[in-house]
Symmetry: D2
C-alpha cells in the first residue's frame, strides 16, 4: 500500500485527534501517505479529503474533538453511496481505510471491506461500549470529567446538606456511571445492566442521615431514566427532595487524559499495521494491556459487558 | 471585643472557606476568639457553634463549599427568632458577627445590627450581584468553571458543526453569562440587563455558516429564559436546530481560583477590623482594588450593574 | 487606515492569542485588514507576515502561547533594521502596528512611532510588571498555575510534615509570588520589593511546630534569590531542612483564565481603536476596571508597584 | 478478627486516602473496626493511632496526600522496634494490618507477618514500580500531572521555537517518563531500562528543524541523569541549546484521577478480605483488570518491568 485514508465517525471523543496523529505518523514511518477524510462517511461519499503530513497532525495530540469533523450519515447504508465513495477512493489512489468511531461506525467499515476495500476499525467513543475491546478511546477522559464534576457538586451538597441526582451519559452501557460512582463515592448508582431497588436507594439516604451525614449523591445513567424522572419517583414514593444535575455535553469534550492518548497512539498505530499486513474487515482493541485485532463481524456478535464487580464493591463501600 | 462569631448563609460559593480562615486568623492576630456558627442563621438561633482555632481553619483555603454549612432560614425575619439567637450569643460572650453571603443574607445582619449587635457583611456569592462591591467572593471561580465547560462543549460543537445553547446561572445579574460569553468567544449572549434580539442571534449564526463556520455557541443567563425555551423559540421562529446544555450546580463548587482566595483574604480580614473599630451594620467590599466598607442600608438602596461595555465588545468581536 | 499588523514579542504569556483574535476581529469590524507578523521584531525586519482573516483566529481564544511565535531581537535597537522593517511594511501597505508584549517590547514600538509609523503596545506578560496598567495579560493564568502547583506540593508537605521552598518567576516584580503566597496560604513570602527577615521566616516555621503543625511553605520570587540558595541559608543559619521546588516554565503555558481572556479582548480591541483614532506611540492598559491609553514614553518613566498591602495582610494571616 | 489497623508509609501518592477509606468501609461492612496509625511505622512503634469510623473517612476520597501522614522509618528494621509495636497492637486488640506504600514499605509488613502478625500490602506509589501488580495507586494521577505540565511547557516551546528537557520522577522505573512521553508526543524519551543514544536524540531534533518544526521536547527520568546534566551533554557534544524544567514535587500531589480512586477502592477492599480470610504476608495487586493477592516474599523476588513496547512505539510516532 502506498496511500490510505482515515476518518472519524459518530459521536466525537477525546483522543480521536491523538489517534489520527498516530495513524499518520505510523503510516509515514512506513512510507505510506494518509488522506484525512472530512465529516466521516459523508466526506467518504463525496471524496472530501486532504493529504495529512506530519505538520498537519502537529499540536493536535492534546486537543479534544476531531480535526476531521464527524457526522452521522444514515444514507451510507445504501449500496449506491458506498459505491460512489469507493469510486472516489479509487480515483485518489486510496487503498485502505481506518475508521475511528463507535460500533455504529464499524458497520460502514464492514460493508466496505466486504466490497473488497480493506478497512480497520479503531474504537473511539466515551461510552466504552464497543464489543471486543476492554477500553475505548475517550472513556478515561469522560470518566475524569464526570468525577471532577461530581466533586464540585459534592461541595454544594455537603454545604447545604442536600441530596443530588447526577445524570451521566450511557444509553446501553453503564460503565461511565459505574466507574464515576465508585470514584466519586456516590451513595447509589443506577445502570442499565442492573435492576435498581428504590427501597435500597432510600435506605442508603436515610442511613447517612441517621449517623449525621445529611447529603448524598445518586448517579443515574441516562439509559435507566432521566435525572428528573428519578427525582420525581423519589419524591412521590418516599417524600424525599433531591436536586438534579444533568452533566450533558461537557462529558464529550476536553483535552484527552494521558491514558486516552496512550491508548489512541497504540490503537491508531496498530490499525495501520493491520492494513499493511493485508488485514481487512478488522477492528483493533486492547485486552489485558495487549493490543490485538479481531474480525469486525465478531464485534457485532459479542456484547460489551460492564465490570459488574465494581457495582458490588460500590454497594459495600457506600454503606 | 474578646470574642466574635462567623457564619455563612445563602447559596455556597468557592472562597467562603478562605474567608472564614481570614476572619479567624485576623481575629486571632488581634487576640480575639472566633466562634464558628453552623448552618447560617439557623445555627445562630439555636446557638450551634464551636470555637475555631488556627488548626480548625488549616487546610481549608483551597476547599470549595463552606465548612460551616449554609442554609436558607426564612423564619429569621421574625423578631422572636432574632431575640432567641441574640440571647444565645450573649450567653456565649459573643460580641459581634461576620456574615458571609449574598445580599439576602445581609438583611439578617442589618436587623441584628439595629438591635445593637454589631454585624459586618462579607459578599460571598457566585452571582456577583451584591450592590456596593465590584466583585463578590466566588464569582471568579464560577466564571472559570463556566468557561472551561464551554471550551469542552465547543470541542463537540466544532467536531459536529452544531450550534449549542449553554444556560448559566444568574437570575437578576448577567455578569456570569456576560464575562463567560466574552471569554469563551460565544456568538451571542443573552442577559437580563439587555433586551435580546432574535433576528440578531439568527443572523450571527447564519453569518458564520456563510463563511464556512458551521458551529456556534449561544450563552443564556437563566434569568432571561431557560436554554430549552430558547431552543424552542429558535426552532419555531427560524427553523434552527440547537442543542442545549444546562451547566447547573457544577458552577457552585470547586477549589477557589487564586483571585477569589485573595479577595476572600482581604475582605474577611477587613470585616474583623471593622468590627474591632466599632463598626456595625456595615458591609465590606472592593472598589478600584481597594478594600472599603459601607452601610448595609446602602446596599439595599443601590443596585448592582453589570459591566455593559463588555456586552458591546462581545458583539463587535463575535462578528 | 486600511491595513494594520500585529506581532507578539518577548516571553510568551497565556492570553496573547486571545489578544491577537481581538485585534483581528475588532479591525475587521471596522473594515480594516490585519497582517500577522511572525517571530516578533525579527519577522518585522524581514516582512514575514500573512493576512489573518476571521477563520485564522478561530479556535485560538483558549490556547496558550502565541500563534504568531515570539522571539527576542536585540538587533532591532539598530536604526538600520528598523528602517528595513518599515520599508517592508510600506511595500505591503501596512499603516500601523499593535505590539503585544512586555515593556521591553514597548521600546521597539516607541522607536517606530518616533519614525512616524503608528504603534500601540498591549501589555502581555505573566510578570504583571508593565508600568501604567494594573494588570497584564497572562498574570492571572500564571497566578492560578502557581497556586494549583502549591496546592499539590502542600499535599506532600502535609503528609510528610516537611517544609518546602517554592521558587516562582519574577525578577523585578514580586506580584506573582505575593498573590500566590497569599492565595495558597504560604507561611512566608520573599519578594524583590521588600527586604526579607530570616529570623521572621524561621520564627514562623517554629511557631507552626509549636502548635503541632509541622509543615510549611515558603514562596520566593527568583529575583530575590534561587530556591536552592534560600534552602542553603536556612540550613546554615538555623539548621532547618527544607525541600525545594522550582516551578519553572510551566508558569508560562496553559489555557488562559477567563479573566485573562476578557482582559485580552478589551485591550486588543482598544489598541485597534487607538490606531484608528490616529494614536501613535501609545500603550493601552486597565485602571480601575476601565480600559485607557497613555504615552509609551510615560511607561518608561513610571515604575510598576506591587500591591504591598497584600504583603502586610499575608503576614497577619499566616500567624 | 474484630479490629485491624491501617497505615501509609514511604512517599505519599494520590489515592492513598481513597485506599484508607476503602479499608475502613469494607471492614465496617464486615463489622470490623479499623484503627488509623499515624506516621507509618513510626506510629506503629509508638502505638499512635485512633479509631477511624465512617465519618472519619468522609470527604477524603478526592484528597491528595494521606490523612494518616507518612514517614520513612529506618529503625523499623530492628527487631526491638518491631516487638515494641506489636506489643502496642496487642494492647489495643489490633489483630491485623494493612500497609499502603511502595515495596520498601512491604519489608516491614513481611517482617511483622513472619512474627505472626497478619499484614497485607497495598501498592501506593506514583512510580508504578511494585513487582507483581500492573499498576500502583497514584501512578495514573502523577502521569496526568506530568502530561498536563508538558502541555504547558510545549506552549512556550512552540511559541519561542525552543527545545526543552523535562525531568520527571523515576529512579529505577521509567514508567512515568515513558507513558508521559508517549502521551505528550515527546520527541525523545530517556528511561533507566533502555540505553540512550545521543546521536538519535540529536538527529530527531534536527529532523524536526529540517521540516520547519523548531521546537522539541525531551523527557528524562531522574534515574538516567538530571535534566541539567543532559542539557550540558547536548551542549558540549552537539552545540545544541536546550532549556530545562524539573517537575519535582508537583508530581506527587493533587486530587487522584478517577482510575486511581477506583484502583484504591478495589485494592483497599481486597486487602481487608485477605486479612479476614486469614491471609498474612500477602500483597494485593491488579493483573488483567482482576484484583488478586500474592506472597510478599514473591514481590521481592520479582522485578517490575516497564511496558517496553511503548518505547518502540514512541520512537515510531515521533519521527
Amino acid at each position: 500500500m502506498k496511500k490510505i485514508a482515515v476518518l472519524t465517525s459518530g459521536g466525537d471523543a477525546p483522543g480521536m485527534n491523538a489517534a489520527i496523529r498516530a495513524v499518520v505518523r505510523k503510516a509515514n514511518y512506513h512510507q505510506v501517505d494518509v488522506m484525512g477524510i472530512y465529516r466521516g462517511y459523508e466526506g467518504f461519499i463525496e471524496g472530501k479529503m486532504e493529504l495529512l503530513d506530519l505538520g498537519a497532525v502537529g499540536g493536535i495530540i492534546q486537543r479534544g474533538g476531531t480535526m476531521l469533523f464527524s457526522s452521522r450519515c444514515p444514507e451510507f447504508k445504501e449500496d449506491k453511496y458506498q459505491q460512489q465513495g469507493l469510486e472516489k477512493m479509487k480515483q485518489a489512489g486510496v487503498e485502505g481505510l481506518v475508521v475511528i468511531g463507535g460500533d455504529g461506525s464499524y458497520r460502514g467499515a464492514l460493508a466496505l471491506s466486504k466490497k473488497g476495500f480493506p478497512c480497520v476499525g479503531v474504537p473511539g467513543t466515551i461510552d466504552n461500549d464497543v464489543p471486543g475491546t476492554e477500553y475505548t478511546i475517550g472513556f478515561d477522559t469522560a470518566l475524569n470529567t464526570v468525577v471532577e464534576s461530581i466533586d464540585k457538586i459534592r461541595d454544594t451538597a455537603t454545604s447545604h446538606e442536600n441530596s443530588f441526582i447526577v445524570e451521566v451519559m450511557g444509553r446501553d452501557a453503564g460503565d461511565l456511571a459505574l466507574w464515576a460512582g465508585l470514584a466519586a463515592g456516590a451513595e447509589s448508582i443506577l445502570i442499565p445492566e442492573e435492576p435498581y431497588d428504590l427501597d435500597d436507594i432510600i435506605e442508603r439516604m436515610n442511613r447517612g442521615v441517621a449517623r449525621g451525614k445529611k447529603h448524598s449523591i445518586i448517579i443515574v445513567a441516562e439509559g435507566v431514566m432521566s435525572g428528573g424522572e428519578l427525582a420525581q419517583i423519589l419524591k412521590e414514593k418516599a417524600g424525599v427532595h433531591t436536586r438534579v444535575s444533568v452533566l450533558g455535553h461537557i462529558q464529550r469534550g476536553g483535552a484527552p487524559s494521558a491514558r486516552d492518548r496512550v491508548l489512541a497512539g497504540r490503537l491508531g498505530a496498530r490499525a495501520v499495521e493491520v492494513l499493511l499486513e493485508g488485514g481487512s474487515g478488522r477492528a483493533v482493541g486492547i485486552k489485558n494491556h495487549e493490543v490485538f485485532d479481531y474480525d469486525l463481524d465478531e464485534a457485532f456478535k459479542m456484547k460489551h459487558k460492564a465490570e459488574i464487580s465494581l457495582y458490588t464493591l460500590s454497594k459495600e463501600l457506600s454503606i
